[in-house]
């Protein structure tokens, strides 16, 4: 699948924003602290930036508002609806922190639930596509949720590095997210494709089916969008880079922050960990698209 940069940026940034907002909503950060106020602003900005970015790949972005209408059947529409709804409690919680320096528990929990709901919908958009074997698994939304939580927790830890609990939570979330992703990726390589050139043409009875002549000589929308291919060795290298830079190094940095003598130092180290994690996630997200094979490839010998 073609990795559209706008979607990669959107799902990574707003994922982190929603993760941080969920943790803020639960009240894991001291609402009176100035850093928490900055954390609220960061979460909202990340979410907003992601949402704006997500409209960039549309053919007709000015009609994007229509996307909230089909929540009965479409996960993309549900994502849109929840994203709009989530803004209300999330901005509310942020206002409470900014103006009164306190945390409203009910509004906060509502915001956290909606924030995670958006991320779940994002994952389900992909998991509901039977035509893409790598994506059609409940592990897909699980990975999206865990990565939102891990990036949110790392950001939260950076805003409140004095909290050992928060640093430990970030470490736990980081481990859980990459563990789930490893299982997801193992499944992707092991899964038997649902369809084959034989079933795609219905000619399997006659023998092995191979594309003899494509319907067009140059690329078209389908081959560009669905037939995207990368060299396997680059994929393996990128995966190792993502795992190292987005998982192992941030984990080591979090451990370092746990034993750092001063909170300021711990804060810097935790912020570095969060930044690296986000960069690693961008690579992970790129691979999520680039490595996924679409059923239409069966018609194109790819």
């Amino acid at each position: 699948m073609h990795p559209a940069s706008s979607i990669i940026v959107f799902s990574t940034l707003s994922g982190a924003g929603y993760g941080l907002a969920a943790l803020l909503g639960v009240g894991l950060l001291d609402a009176a602290a100035p850093a928490t106020k900055a954390a609220h602003l960061t979460a909202l900005l990340l979410i907003a930036a992601g949402l704006v970015s997500s409209t960039l790949h549309l053919g007709n972005p000015r009609r994007a508002w229509r996307a909230v209408s089909q929540w009965r059947s479409s996960w993309l529409s549900r994502e849109g609806v929840l994203a709009v709804l989530a803004f209300v409690p999330l901005v509310g919680v942020a206002l409470f922190a900014w103006l009164e320096g306190r945390h409203p528990p009910v509004l906060g929990l509502l915001g956290a639930a909606l924030a995670l709901g958006v991320v779940y919908c994002t994952g389900m958009i992909y998991a509901s596509l039977r035509a893409v074997d790598a994506w059609a698994t409940p592990l897909t939304p699980l990975c999206y949720l865990l990565f939102a939580l891990s990036s949110g927790a790392l950001l939260a830890a950076a805003f409140r590095p004095s909290s050992t609990g928060l640093l430990a939570l970030a470490l736990l979330a980081l481990g859980a997210a990459w563990a789930a992703k490893l299982v997801w990726r193992r499944r992707m390589f092991g899964v038997t494709p649902l369809s084959s050139p034989e079933s795609a043409t219905g000619l399997g009875e006659l023998g092995r089916v191979r594309l003899f002549e494509p319907p067009h000589m140059t690329d078209n929308y389908l081959t560009r969008e669905m037939g995207f291919r990368i060299a396997r060795k680059h994929a393996a290298k990128l995966w190792r880079l993502a795992l190292l830079g987005g998982g192992i190094v941030p984990a080591a940095l979090l451990l370092l922050a746990l034993i750092a003598p001063r909170p300021v130092l711990a804060g810097v180290v935790a912020a570095l960990a969060a930044g690296l994690h986000l960069l690693g996630l961008l690579v992970e997200r790129w691979l999520f698209f680039a490595e996924a094979r679409h059923a239409v490839s069966n018609y194109y010998g790819r």
Binding site: I125, A131, L206, R210, H294, Y299
Partner: protein, 252 residues
């Protein structure tokens, strides 16, 4: 509404494509583009039509596949493989995933005749329906930023201003070998339904659970080739005039 019709549609209009007859001439591809670029919705635009990287939105494409039987060889070597030309357009699935994923309601399936259509004035061009379609039946029009797909020539089949024989999809009307047939696959008495029954018509990728309406008819079993299609030198002696000539030349 992107929810699918709850009841089976009154009619199941669709195509039956005979893979035994198709010669891969691409006439249906061209006539489809020609009709639909001036018909329903925006034109099917081309990008760099006279340039190096020609591409554009087409609603019907013809692939050619080589089928190598068990133990057979690639064509040109053993001569046992066969080529099947394979036209492919929207199958107007009963359980169309392209419809349910649409966030705006632009994609819909008509309850009256089962045709899957795009209301281009609602389409935001997100491309998710094209991702949801296992068959590659949808292509984005890059100029208009909306999704294009086969409409089953909805602007022909009910068009009272056309002559009766023209009220069929453009691809069907054009096919010079009669490989394409149009009709109501929901009516067991229709010509297309009978054809599917008699020839063993099948679905593409039934495992995707989309329940396509369009059906494909398999190539008929090939006539068995002679063990050695080309006689080898000295194998058979000619008869008649050439036999006499042969004998005379032998004696010289």
């Amino acid at each position: 509404m992107t929810s699918l019709p709850s009841l089976p549609t009154e009619k199941k209009l669709g195509l039956v494509i005979d893979l035994d007859v198709c010669v891969g001439c691409h006439a249906c591809v061209v006539s489809c583009k020609e009709w639909n670029t001036g018909g329903y919705g925006s034109a099917c635009s081309d990008q760099e039509p006279y340039g190096r990287d020609v591409s554009g939105a087409w609603l019907n494409r013809v692939h050619s596949f080589e089928i190598i039987p068990e133990g057979g060889e690639v064509i040109g070597e053993g001569g046992q493989a066969r080529i099947v030309h394979f036209p492919k357009s929207c199958l107007h699935c009963e359980d169309a995933p392209c419809v349910t994923v649409c966030p705006t309601g632009a994609s819909y399936k008509r309850a009256s005749d089962g045709i899957v259509l795009v209301d281009e004035s609602l389409c935001i061009g997100c491309g998710l329906c094209a991702w949801a379609c296992a068959y590659g039946a949808r292509e984005m029009d890059l100029a208009a930023g909306v999704m294009k797909k086969c409409t089953l020539c909805v602007d022909r089949i009910y068009n009272a201003t056309l002559a009766e024989e023209d009220r069929i999809p453009s691809c069907v009307r054009t096919c010079p070998t009669n490989a394409r047939h149009f009709g109501d696959l929901g009516d067991p008495q229709s010509d297309v339904s009978r054809m599917v029954r008699e020839r063993g018509g099948f679905d593409l990728m039934p495992e995707q659970g989309t329940a396509p309406v369009n059906k494909y008819l398999p190539p008929r079993p090939r006539t068995a080739l002679a063990p050695a299609p080309m006689p080898q030198e000295g194998e058979a002696s000619p008869e008649g005039f050439f036999g006499w000539l042969d004998r005379v030349l032998e004696r010289l």
